[in-house]
Amino acid sequence: MHWIALPLPPPHEEAMAWWALRFTPRVALADGGEAVLLELAACERLWGGREALRVQVLRAWTQAHEVPAPPIGEGPTALLALALLRQALAQRPPPRRIPQGLPLHTLTALRPHAPSLERMGCRTWGALRALPRAGVARRFGAQVLQVLDQAFGDAPEAHTWLELPDQFALSAELPALAESADTLLWAASRCLAALQGWLQARQQGALALELEWRHDLRRVDGVAIASTQALQVCTAQATQDTAHLRRLLSEHLARTALAAPVNRITLRLLESAPLAQCNASLLPSDTPEGGEALHQLLERLTARLGPAQVQAPVLRADHRPECMQQWQPAAEALGRGGDGPVPDAVLLPPWLLRPPRPLAVQGNRPCHHGPLRLLAGPQRFEAGWWSEEEEGAAQRDYFVAHNDTAGLLWVFRERQPPAPGQPHRWFLHGVFG
C-alpha cells in the first residue's frame, strides 16, 4: 500500500476530487473533504512507476485547481500520509523518525485527548504507543488505540471510496448575485473543470451540455419571470476539452441577456459518448501540430455569427443557375459537395448575384457602369416550368457582356417582356471576376 494525500481547496466537495479517479479507483476524502487520499500501489505499474505517477498526479492537481505545486504527504497508510500532509501544510519540517515522531494532533481521532496527553508528557505517536495499552484503553477509550494501530499499519483501515454519480449534474451557489452573463461564465468554468474530471474517469466525451441558472427575483417591474432559464450547447464530436466547451458557452452567453440577477447555476451533461483514445504515432506526422479541429472552428463561428452566416454550397442538378447550388450550414454541408458536375460549367461565372440585379437599358443595350458590349450568346435557358411558384419558371437568353469598367459580366434578357409592347428586361446575374 502506498498512499498520497493532497489538499483540497474550499469548497470541500466531492466533485473537486473527481479528477483523481482517472489514476486509481481507490480515492477517498479525508475528514469532510479537507484532503483527498489516493492509494497508488495497485496501479503504479500502469503509469510507469511510482515517480512517474506522482508527477502526473501533481500535474493533474495543478490543472484541476489552477494553483501551483501543492504540499504532499506520502506514506504506507492513509492516516500517516494525511498526518504528513498536515505537517507540511503547517509548514513544519517532518520529524526525524517517521511515524514515531509525529505530533498527536495530526490524527483527527486523538485531537480531543491531545491536551490531557500532553500534560502527561506524551507528545508524539511513539510516546503514546509506548504507554501500557490497557491503561490507555481504560482512560481514553479503545478507539484511540485502534486508530493508532491503523496509522502504524497494524490494523486494517476502512474507507468510503469516492464514486461518480451516474448522471452529471453539478450545482453551484454564486458567491454574489450575477448581473451579467459574463459573470456566470466564471462560475460555470469551475463546474466545467469538475465535468472534465467526470468525463475522464468515465472515458466519455461530452456532446451536449445544459447550463441552467436560477433567477433571484420572481418579478421584474411587475412582470412575472420564469424561475429558471437554461442554455444548451452542443458539439459535433465528443470531447473532453473543456477549453472548447468553455469558449462555446462564452459565445452563447455573450448573446444572452439575463432576465434578472442570478444566484445559482446548474451544469448538466445531456449527452455523452464513449471516447476512443487514439494511438500515438511512432513516426512524426506530416501535418503541423497544434491548431484546432474543423468542427471546433465551425461551432465557434456559428455561435458568434449565427448559422445563416457560416455556410457551404451543396450542388443540385438543375438548369436554373440560382437553383444549381443551395447554401446549408457548413457543419453539415462541408465534404458532401452534392450532385455531380454540371456540363460546360467552366463557362459559368465564379460570382453569382442573388437576386439578379435589374440593368438599365439604353436603346436596346443593357448598361452597367456604362453601356455593355455583348461578346457571346445568346444561350437559351428554359426551365422551371414545373415549378409551382410564379418566379420559378425561367425563360432567359444569357449573354457574356463586357465593358472596361465593369469587366466580364454574365447578363440575361427575359424572353417575355413584362407587358406587351414594352422592352425586354435585362438582368445582371454573374461576374467573371
Binding site: 491548431g291 471546433q296 472552428l297 458568434r304 445563416a308 452566416q309 463557362l347 459559368l348 466580364l408
Partner: protein, 253 residues
Amino acid sequence: MSALPSLILPFAVPGVWHADVLGAGLSQAQPTGHALLDAQLPGGGWPLGALSEVLQPRPGRNEWPLVLPALAAATARRPGVVVAVAPPQEPFGPALQAQGLPAGRLCVVRAEASAALWATEQALRCRDVQAVLAWLPQVAPAALRRLQLAAARQQQLLWVFRPVSAAPQASPALLRLQVQGRDGEPTGLRVRILKRRGPPLEQALDLPGCHPRLAQALAAQARRREAAQNAALQTLPQGNRHALDRAALAAAA
C-alpha cells in the same frame, strides 16, 4: 566600392539574401499556376504561412483567375477546407468546381468589418483549413500583422483583398499585388507586383483573366460574327447601296 560588399559577403550562406536578386525564401510556396507570375515571385509561388495582399479596383473583380489555379492544385494535393470570409458576392459553386475547387471544400463566412477580421483569425488557427480568402476593405495595419502571424503558425495560404486606395499604406504583407483588367481586352488580366522579396519589378505582367475555354468561346464567337458581317456585305447587291454604307465598305475592302 559598390562591388565590395557583394565580394565580401558569402553567396551560399543560407538565410542571407542579397537584395538585388529574387529572394529564394526559406518558407514553402504554392505555385500560382501562371508560369509568368511564378517566375517573378520569390520561391516560385504564393508563400505558404504568410499574408499575400491583393489590391483590386473593385471588390469582386479579377480575384478568381488569379488564385483559382493555386487553390485547385492545393486542394488536390492534400485535404483541407478553403474559407472565404466576407466575399463581395456569392461564390458560384458549379463554376468553381469545374475549375478545380470542389464545392464540398468551400466554406463561406459572411460577416461585417470587425467580425470578418475575427473570423479570419479564427480560421487561421484551425489545422484543417488550407487556405483563407478574406475581403477586408477597411483593415488596420496592426490587424494585418496579427493575420500574418496567425498564418505563419499553421502554414496556410492567406489572401487579403483590399481596394487599390490602400496601396500607399504600409503593409506587413510578404507579397503585395495589384490586379486590374486590361482595357479593350475582355479576357486579360494585368498584375503589378508592388512588393516582394527581391528587386522592384517595373513592368506589369499580363495573365489570362478567365478560363481558357471561355476565352476560346469568346474568340470563336467574335470570329463568327466578323465572318457573318463580311458575308452580309458580300451578298449585298452592287447597285443598291445606301450612301451611308460607303465607309463600311471601304473598311471591308
